[in-house]
Symmetry: C2
Subunit: 253 residues, 2 copies
């Protein structure tokens, strides 16, 4: 009987700077023998893992990384798979669970350590845009059809959800952000607050508080390092802050 | 000229146990002279603020607490307003910004420290339910009309959003959770994973992984200490885990 039990911790490293990791995330990195992750995320947490073995690959090497992490854990190692933001929001928790076989799940101790997701990080830079119901939509059409993404944008706009767009634009893909801005302009007033937050809590942080009217989908600020947040019909701007009131009756109280 | 500048830090304390606060949140508590918050949240972080002055009131005392925090900061104090989960998601960041006057905003240094929101905490206990687009809806009708909440439930169900219900039921309010379960049953298969997570990372944590068919809206597990998560059409159960695949093409790959 195999008594060596490996451990696989999927660790959300938050927006990027080490002070926004949770204590549990820092502890999981500390306890791990091997750190597995995308090169960019590994670099952000370098100061926490200096004495560790690591296995890192580029952005598209996700399956290779997870396969390697699982193989190491099967041999009894304590492995931390790092994921930017919250590992559970478009992060590595899903791929790890998709790739783990049923028998591996019995042999390996799996834990998911939550983190601060990009929506929360961006919101905190802006003030309080997420005080009411919101939708989170990724504009990456790598694994999802553009039609489904457009349908969700329309429903979120119709439902007056505050809306957070992840992966709003890449170098090869810029049409969905145009559709998004168009559909929200059809459903909300031109002065509805809208914002682009790039590299929150990282080098080159940039916060642009705009309105639906002035949000330019072709802005070079919109890229894979940014999220876009669009307010609901009650959201307003207060000086440099983006505020969504908590309820629909309290505004102007 | 008044050179004394107070500081107001709105601090998300995460799901409840101190290891899920970020380093920045711990630092902000450490730097503050006075901690202001709901008695229940203050109790959860007691070990971090033992030498601090505090001003705490019950759940409904929000405006009184914020007014007091602003008054103290105006006198030059460093004040931390604590908020469970992420201060920016249905948390205290909004009320603080709503109540701060324009002149006070010039005199007081305001910062919002993001935290792990309940959706991320609950998701991490379940596996990876939030790997695709999701909607966050509060079922509290204290400040929002039931009609708007029902409309959003319908749109989220139609759009195949993974859906996270905050404040799903209180002692005096149990009809919206019934509507929610009914509308999702009309739009998704009976075996769609659905879960109740109560007191994530706190005493009395309880995780119930169910399906839309077996999720009972009248369950005593559903209360103000819980969130309910309903999967999308691709979500599936894998042993004790709730998995939403990252894309719509990868499932069964």
């Amino acid at each position: 009987m195999n008594t060596v039990q490996g451990r696989l911790s999927v660790v959300g490293t938050g927006p990027g700077s080490v002070e926004h990791l949770t204590g549990a995330a820092v502890q999981a990195l500390h306890d791990a023998e091997v750190i597995v992750g995308y090169t960019g995320y590994i670099r952000q947490i370098e100061s926490l893992i200096q004495d560790k073995q690591r296995f890192s690959t580029g952005m598209r090497g996700e399956k290779e990384r997870v396969a390697h992490a699982i193989a190491l854990a099967e041999q009894g190692a304590r492995v931390a798979v790092v994921s930017g933001g919250d590992a559970g929001v478009y992060g590595m928790a899903g791929l790890v669970l998709e790739m783990l076989g049923d028998e591996q799940l019995e042999r390996i101790a799996l834990e998911i350590i939550p983190g601060v997701t990009a929506a929360s990080a961006a919101a905190s830079c802006l003030g309080a845009p997420l005080m009411h119901d919101f939708a989170v939509i990724s504009l990456s059409d790598l694994l999802t059809s553009p039609e489904l993404i457009e349908r969700r944008l329309l429903l979120a706009a119709e439902g007056d959800f505050v809306t957070v767009l992840y992966n709003p634009k890449s170098r090869t893909r810029n049409t969905l952000i145009r559709s998004a801005v168009e559909v929200f302009r059809q459903h909300r007033k031109p002065d509805t607050p809208a914002a682009i937050v790039s590299n929150a809590y990282r080098e080159n942080e940039r916060v642009e508080l705009l309105s639906l009217e002035t949000l330019d989908p072709d802005s070079p600020s919109i890229d894979m390092s940014s999220v876009v947040i669009i307010g609901n019909c009650s959201s307003y701007r207060k000086g440099m802050w983006f505020v969504t009131p908590r309820g629909y009756r309290i505004h102007g109280e």
